[in-house]
Structures are given as C-alpha cells and as structure tokens.
C-alpha cells in the first residue's frame, strides 16, 4: 500500500476512534505481562472498561474450570473488590485464592436464574468502586452483551463473562456474535514433564478468537501463578516473541 494512502487511512481510523470514544471515560488497559499476548491486543493489553468473554475448550466447556481461573487471574491483578455472579455453586474458593484473588476481595452473588444473573452483572458493571465483575453464564445474547458493554464503558470496570454450558453440544453457541470486546477460549494442554514423578504448572492453550480492532491469535502459556500472572513456557521463552500461529482476520 502506498505510504500516502496509508497515512490517510490512519487519519480516518483515528477520527473514527475519537468519535467512538467521545462519551467514554478514559480507561487504560491491563497488560498480561507476556509479550506475544500483549502485542496481539490493541493498546497492549486487555481493555478495562469493556466486556470480555472467556470459555473453556473441549470438555472444559461444561466445567469451565480453566476459564474461571483465567478470569480470576485477570481481576486478581486489579485493585479493589470483585463481584462474582454465579448460578451453580461449584466454584471452589481456595483455587481462586491460589490464583492470586484473596478471599476478602470476592463477593459472590448467587442469582436464581439467568435473568437475575444478567441484572446483577449489569448492576455490578455500573458501579465504579469494583475492580471487575465476573459472571458465569451460558447464554449471552447480542442485546444483553451490548447493554453490558455500554455499562462497562460508562464505569470503566472490566466485565468478564465466563461462558459455560450444561452440555458440550451447546458450546456451539460460542460462535454467535456478541458485543464483547474480546473473546477467549482457554483449554488444557499437556504440561511439561518433570524430571521426577509429579505434576508441574498447568499449561493452557489460550485462543484469542475474536478481538475488536485486532487479529485472532493463539498462544500456549503456563497457567496463572499465585499472583494471577500467565507466563511463557520455559522451553518457548527463549524463542522469538511471536504468536505460535495466526489465523485469518476475525469479523470485528
């Protein structure tokens, strides 16, 4: 592309961005601290006043264990209390604590049904004092997600929808479009063998399936440590910093 046209395009992009962000609070981003992931995200990290979707891959679409820990790792690195909305009480709090989210910071909301759950999620996102709101839900419609996204933009609070379904077959719902800024899928990956019998740090395949203003990408990373940080696997860390695979541009 010629340089002159490119500059014009950049100018237009900046204008559109300015229009889009006219009524938004200036919000920052939360970097993952892992160079290839941050490079794949616009702004160099997860946008704070926005809605993000996380789901488990494979069998974990039902359990959502890795997705919950991924979300815990994100909100653990932000200051302030966290609202965690659930309908099924099978989340085990010690695991969140081991992902860096202290028990004193988490307020659980057990909503009776999906409607109440969404209302609580939105109410939490509208409140400016929170570090973030996590909501475990199976359904997230376009309308609901747009409401949530607007609420998050207005308050600057990060919203994480952990998608989990009753049956693995329902996980096809994850292909439906929503207004979320990013969409992630976290699935288990065999961990590195230790020289002694035992289990090392868990390893995840983290797919950035959709991201507003950036390409899809996927990474293989070590799971959250006790401060909620992901890390490049030791044997990969010395290689050049680039996503392991790139796919076509996502619809944004």
């Amino acid at each position: 592309m010629p340089a002159a046209r490119s500059a014009k395009l950049e100018d237009l992009r900046a204008q559109v961005l300015a229009l889009e962000q006219a009524d938004r609070r200036p919000v920052g981003v939360l970097p993952f601290g892992v160079a290839p992931v941050d490079a794949a995200l616009p702004g160099g990290g997860l946008t704070l006043g926005a809605l993000h979707e996380v789901a488990g891959g494979g069998d974990d679409a039902v359990g959502g264990a890795a997705a919950a820990l991924f979300a815990a790792g994100v909100v653990a690195r932000l200051p302030g209390p966290v609202l965690w909305c659930i309908t099924r009480p099978d989340l085990f709090a010690p695991a969140l604590s081991q992902a860096g989210l202290e028990p004193d910071r988490v307020i659980y909301v057990e909503a009776g049904d999906e409607k109440a759950l969404m209302a609580c999620f939105e109410e939490g996102l509208r409140h400016r004092g929170l570090a973030g709101v996590v909501c475990e839900t199976s359904r997230l419609s376009m309308t609901a997600s747009r409401r949530l996204q607007l609420a998050a933009e207005a308050s600057g609070v990060i919203g994480l929808a952990v998608r989990r379904w009753r049956r693995a077959a329902e996980a096809a719902d994850f292909g439906q479009p929503t207004a979320a800024a990013t969409r992630w899928r976290v699935s288990a990956e065999p961990s590195a063998p230790l020289p002694v019998p035992g289990i090392g740090r868990a390893r995840w395949r983290i797919e950035l399936m959709r991201c507003r203003g950036a390409d899809a990408a996927d990474f293989i990373l070590d799971a959250c440590d006790e401060t909620g940080r992901l890390a490049l696997p030791a044997e990969l860390a010395r290689r050049s910093a680039s996503p392991t695979a790139r796919r076509g541009r996502a619809a944004a």
Binding site: A65, F92, P94, S97, L130, A188, P197, A223
Partner: protein, 475 residues
C-alpha cells in the same frame, strides 16, 4: 386462672393446663370453678394490658418480618407478607422462624400462610396439618373447618348448626340470599373475606418513635413515573428528618394506600448500613416500583424508617492523599433487595482439612479476615457437590490410578501427584472416626487435570470402602 366480667356474671376468661385438667373451662362461672378446685389462684383479667402486649408483639413482627402487621385479638397476629417472604428464605422458612422465635420466649404459637387474611386466620387456628395455602387452594383448605373459623359473632355458629350447617364447606356454595335474610349480612361478608372476594385491609401498627413522612394526594396517582417522583420527594423529606436527628436508615417501609378498597401496597427495603443519601434511597425504592399495583390510583403515601441507626460523617480515606476505599455498600443494598440478602456472601477459610468444610459464608460487608487458604496444597477450581464414583485401575496402596472412566469417557493418566491424605474429623461425626481419603491430582493425555480420591487408605477396610471418586476439576 383469670376471670373477667361478661355482662353481670364473673366468668373464667383464661386458665392454665393444670386448671383445665381439673375441670375448669373458659366461659364457666368463676364461683363454679372455685367450687370445683380448692386453693384456686384467681386473678382479674387485664384486657387492656393484653391488647397493649399484643400491639407490642405486632410492632416486633413489623420490625422483623413485613411492614404491614396488625394485632388480631384475642391472641392473634396478622402479617401481610406480600413481597416480604423471600427476605427470610420463603414462606415456610418465615413461618419456621416466627414460631421458633416465639417459642424461645415461651409463647407456643401456630402460624399459617394463606392468600387472604380470613383464610390464614382460620387455618392457623383450626388446622394443625396445613402451613401454607396456595393461591387456588382456599376452598380445599377451608371446607372441612368448623364455622367458628369464620370470625362470626358469638351466637351465629350455634344458630347455623341448628339449621344443619356444620362446616364452612356446607355454607360456601349455598345461595346467598336466603342465608342473608335469616342470618344477616355479616355471614356473607366474612365468607367473602375468607375466600378473597371482598377486600379486607390490615391497619398497620405504627411505632410512635419511627421517623415518618406522608404525602396525601388530592387526585389519586398511578403512573410509575409519578410514583417514582413522589418516592424521591418523600425520600428527600425523610432524609431531612433523619439529618436533624443524626440518624441513618437501616430499613425503609414504603406504604401506598390505594383509593379503592383501602388496600395497602407495601415495599420494604433493607440496607446493609445506615444510609441518609436521598439518591440512593430513591434508587432502591424505584427499583421496586413494579411490585406496586396502583389499581385505581394511590391516594396516600407513607415513607417510614422503621429501623434507623446513628449516622455520623466520616472521612473516606484515612489520610490525605491516600486513595479512598471504594464503597460498595450501595451496590450490595441494590443487589440484596433484588435477589435476597442471603444470596450475597463472601467466603472465608475455616480450619478444616475436609475440602467441603473448609469455608464459611460471611456477610458481604463484614470486616476483612485477612486469612487465606494454604497455598501449598493445590485445590481444584470446580468442586463437585458430591463426589462422583469412577472406575479406575490402580496399584494399592499408594499409587495413583493408571486410567479412569468418568461419565462414560475413559482417560489415560499421564502424570499424577499424591497422595494427600485427609483424615475424617472424628470430633464432628462418629462415622468419621477412622475415615481416610487419599487425594491425587492427575493429568490425562489431553492435559486436563482432575482431583481424584480413594475412600480409605488402601489397606485397612475400616478406613473406607477403597472405592475411587472424582471430586473436582482443576483449570
């Protein structure tokens, strides 16, 4: 035994179980009772004192359960729990709580929930087997009851019985006109009230010291926007009143008196801490506007701080320049009024090795405990409510399984860690005296991690069945 006057006779109005066993009856002449029982302790009845005590009980119930409560003499209490039962965990739970609390102060009470005041009155007094009457079950609940359950004038049940009417069911579906001609309008009115065909408003008991503001409308209002506006006006007036007294609201009762049939639509809002912020109170009230049925309009509105606590100004941050602590009490109030306060909680560690018991619930705004679970023992992100049995192949006593089958899927185990031995808590249950669980963290070929345990130590049958279970999923 208590005596009082009925007309010119001195009669027994109340007696205890011992006196009743000796033959005393309520309504008996006092002299006759004295003749029956030697050394009888006769006291004068104090109907005014009784009424006062019942009113105090109604105020207590108003503070604890629902904004509209009325004394129902003799010896009864009517509570309008419309829209208030969920705060105590449902109707049955509310009844249990009510009777248990009265029991603790020595009052044996019987309570029932029904769609109408009349039906609840009858069921609570005359049916031991029924607690909660559904919307469409009034007829079934009332039909077998004696006529006294209808709150009729004293001589009417006997007169009806002479005509062959024994139960409410005999009367309920009779043509009304002949009955009315013979027995007067009262019978029909009471029947209609019990069956919900005629309105019967409760007159709410009021505690005199409660800060309260009122607005009377010349024209009845009904549109939600208008209700919301006046909720704001009343909230502002109430906050002014509270500021003068240095108080903050802990519980807010909003009563809307309907213009037709004098029904009261009540909204109760609870707060986690004392609040005197007009905007926040208005917001909590307008959240609940959809529960108000204005009918033909609302002519009077009352807003009362039925529970208030001292509230003083407080600095938001400990020192200048420090970031202020975010205040989430507003959010907690909104959510707990919407879904029930018991559904919002924090979890705090408990000293227990058994994973299911390692946490307890705290109120969301309780002081931070500063404690966390031990980081040394890995714990799964999902813990199943009850462990699910799995089929495994494992070497006894200490080796992890080589593979296992769960929910029809067979998984080969590539890596494993364990055992982490957890002993039963013999102090809690005798059955756990020797119980042992050996937990293993395992990873299958795909990299998914599970938390398995064997019930028993692999050698001694007294420690458990030696069967394998899956208890959780790691992320």
């Amino acid at each position: 035994m208590l005596t009082g006057r009925v007309g010119r006779r001195r009669v027994v109005t109340a007696c205890n179980a011992a006196a009743a066993a000796s033959g005393a009856r309520i309504g008996m002449a006092a002299t006759q009772a004295q003749a029956l029982i030697p050394d009888l302790d006769l006291r004068d009845a104090d109907p005014n004192g009784d009424a006062d005590a019942l009113d105090r009980l109604a105020v207590w119930a108003m503070r604890r359960y629902a904004p509209v409560c009325q004394a129902d003499p003799p010896g009864g209490l009517a509570i309008d729990i419309t829209g208030a039962a969920h705060l105590k965990g449902g109707e049955t739970a509310l009844l249990g709580d009510l009777t248990a609390r009265l029991q603790r102060v020595g009052v044996r009470a019987r309570a029932a929930v029904a769609p109408t005041y009349g039906a609840a009155h009858a069921v609570a007094r005359f049916r031991r087997d029924l607690d909660v009457v559904g919307e469409f079950a009034i007829d079934a609940a009332l039909a077998p009851l004696p006529l006294e359950a209808l709150r009729l004038p004293a001589e009417l049940p006997a007169a009806l019985r002479r005509m062959g009417f024994e139960r409410i069911g005999d009367l309920a579906h009779r043509p009304r006109a002949p009955l009315q001609l013979r027995f007067g309008a009262e019978l029909g009115r009471r029947l209609d009230q019990a069956y919900g065909r005629a309105a019967e408003p409760l007159i709410p008991v009021e505690a005199p010291e409660t800060p309260r503001v009122e607005q009377v409308f010349a024209e009845p209002i009904g549109a939600p926007e208008t209700l919301a506006r006046y909720a704001g006006v009343l909230a502002a007036a109430l906050c002014g009143l509270l500021e003068a007294r240095g108080l903050g609201v802990r519980r807010l009762d909003w009563l809307c008196h309907r213009v037709v049939n004098n029904r009261i639509e009540a909204v109760r809002v609870g707060l986690a801490g004392p609040v005197r912020d007009t905007r926040r109170l208005t917001r909590l009230l307008t959240d609940r506007i959809e529960t108000i049925e204005p009918g033909f309009g609302i002519e009077r509105m009352t807003l009362a701080a039925s529970a208030a606590e001292p509230l003083d100004w407080r600095p938001a941050a400990g020192r200048l320049g420090e970031p202020a602590m975010p205040d989430v009490s507003g959010l907690i109030d909104t959510l707990s009024n919407r879904i029930g306060a018991e559904r919002l909680y924090r979890l705090a560690p408990v000293e227990s090795d058994v994973p299911e018991r390692s946490m307890r619930k705290l109120a969301p705004l309780a002081a931070p405990t500063g404690k966390a679970w031990s980081p040394d023992w890995p714990r799964p992100a999902r813990l199943f409510r009850r462990p699910e049995p799995i089929e495994t192949l494992a070497l006894l006593p200490d080796n992890p399984p080589t593979h296992f089958t769960w929910r029809g899927v067979r998984r080969r185990i590539r890596r494993a860690d364990g055992p982490e031995r957890i002993f039963g808590e013999w102090g809690r249950r005798d059955a756990e005296m020797w119980a042992v669980r050996d937990y293993f963290q395992v990873e299958d070929e795909a990299g998914e991690r599970f938390w398995l345990f064997r019930a028993g130590d692999g050698e001694d049958a007294a420690t458990g069945s030696q069967a394998w279970f899956i208890h959780g999923q790691f992320g």
